[in-house]
């Protein structure tokens, strides 16, 4: 269990032992009837603590409130690169939009960086220190954001991109993106939202799919689904789809 876990139970432990008939200095000599009463109080407190802890969804999965200062500090750290509303940012690399992203996808990708399934040294360093509960809190917060797309894609490609996204190109065995990503490109579960994603980021991901994702042979993952799709698109089609989704709100 993580450091965050022991930190969060420390005050509870303190409260627990301060009720102990034998745990505190100077309380060793309590009269017998007082000691019994204290034990009863201690048991009741223990049950209460256990209830609070377990209500969080299990020992490893207790929730951190989104308002927690830890979460807020980490969010502002993420937004240094991903933009103040997580709308994405053009740094040296195109840094993806996280706003509105599916929580299951965000968690899966953060784990993918940690497990070297997805290679990105910066994101490995960022992610491997996050506790599971922090990860869930961040994913929920990013999912709730909804800034407008940052834009910047060439407009002339959008119509072709829309056609490929909504209908695919069945003659060329190019799947309709909408079947899995949804007609509004909002994604679902582990399938990412593409709406409003950065034009150069989508191009980079589709162009380098098999070089960046699914890189840990001992841990095959869902990125394999997109591998043949990314391969079947030529550069013009990739540009067109990227332009289309980057305009969607």
């Amino acid at each position: 269990m993580s450091a965050a876990w022991s930190e969060s139970v420390r005050p509870l432990k303190k409260a627990f032992w301060s009720c102990s008939p034998t745990g505190g200095e100077g309380r060793m000599m309590l009269p017998k009837h007082r000691a019994h009463e204290t034990i009863r109080r201690r048991s009741a407190l223990f049950v209460a603590i256990l209830t609070i802890v377990l209500a969080g969804g299990g020992w490893g999965q207790y929730a951190i409130a989104a308002s927690s200062p830890d979460v807020q500090a980490k969010l502002s750290y993420c937004k240094d690169c991903h933009g103040p509303s997580a709308q994405g940012y053009r740094g040296y690399f195109p840094i993806p939009r996280l706003a509105g992203q599916q929580p299951a996808y965000l968690e899966n990708q953060l784990r993918a960086f940690i497990e070297r399934r997805r290679t990105n040294n910066i994101m490995f360093n960022v992610a491997h220190s996050l506790s599971p509960s922090m990860l869930a809190a961040l994913a929920a917060d990013f999912h709730a954001l909804n800034p407008p797309p940052i834009g910047g894609a060439p407009q002339r490609l959008v119509a072709t991109g829309q056609k490929i996204f909504q209908d695919g190109m069945p003659e060329n065995n190019i799947a309709a993106c909408a079947a899995c990503h949804g007609p509004g490109a909002t994604g679902s579960g582990e399938i990412p939202r593409l709406a409003g994603q950065l034009y150069p980021y989508v191009i980079k991901e589709l162009t380098n799919w098999g070089k960046e994702r699914g890189q840990n042979p001992t841990k095959p993952d869902t990125s394999a689904i997109m591998s043949p799709v990314a391969h079947s698109l030529d550069q013009e089609q990739i540009d067109a789809v990227a332009a289309y989704v980057s305009t969607l709100k």
Binding site: D167, G168, N173, A175, A176, A179, C180, I191, P228
Partner: protein, 235 residues
Amino acid sequence: MDVRNVQTSSSSKRDPRRPLRVAALRFPLQATMLTIAVVATARAENTDVGTVSEKEVQAKLAYCEVCHGVSAQGFHGYYPIPRLAGQPTEYLKNQLQAFVEHRRTNNIMFNVGHVLSPAMIDALTTDFNALNPKPLGGGPTEPVAEGKKIFENGVADANVPPCASCHGPEAKGNGPFPRLAGQLYDYIVNKLTNWDKERGQNPEKPDTSALMQPIAHSLTQPQIKAVAAYVSSLE
């Protein structure tokens, strides 16, 4: 040719002291030969509907499996995307035709379906029928027992016949009746709930979907969920 070689080598290894083991070995061999013969016949029939190269078929299969799952076991995309594995060829052909003729409304499957040649449809449906992956799972387990009861006995009070009478006791389907075994829970719930909003949509071309219409209508939502949970768990 390969088949004959296998048979010869198997015979030469025959050991009179182990007749049972030989019999056990021969049975799967016969089954394999039968399968090959049946597949060969199906492929031979393709000549009646034009031809398509094995390479084209494999490319198209890979394309279908992007959405329907690597073994056509179904997939949870934005929509629940149905299992095609083990589905009767006649049902698959009928549905592809239904998408093309707008009897069944689904824009993505219309686009996919209308470019397929008859030879390609024959090849694809034969291949999907031959697949047998485990069910994808994910349905609730709690209503399975109730679902089994409805599937096998029907709901007489509501004039719902046993599903098994058309779909078979193991829900494997037959001819125009689809296999339900291993189908995705949320796909079945979705179909039974929206039956006549999606199927039988071309008034000039009434089709077999009309058979299910009153049944789907007579089932309550908890009954639909129970049946869906049951069939989704079947191998």
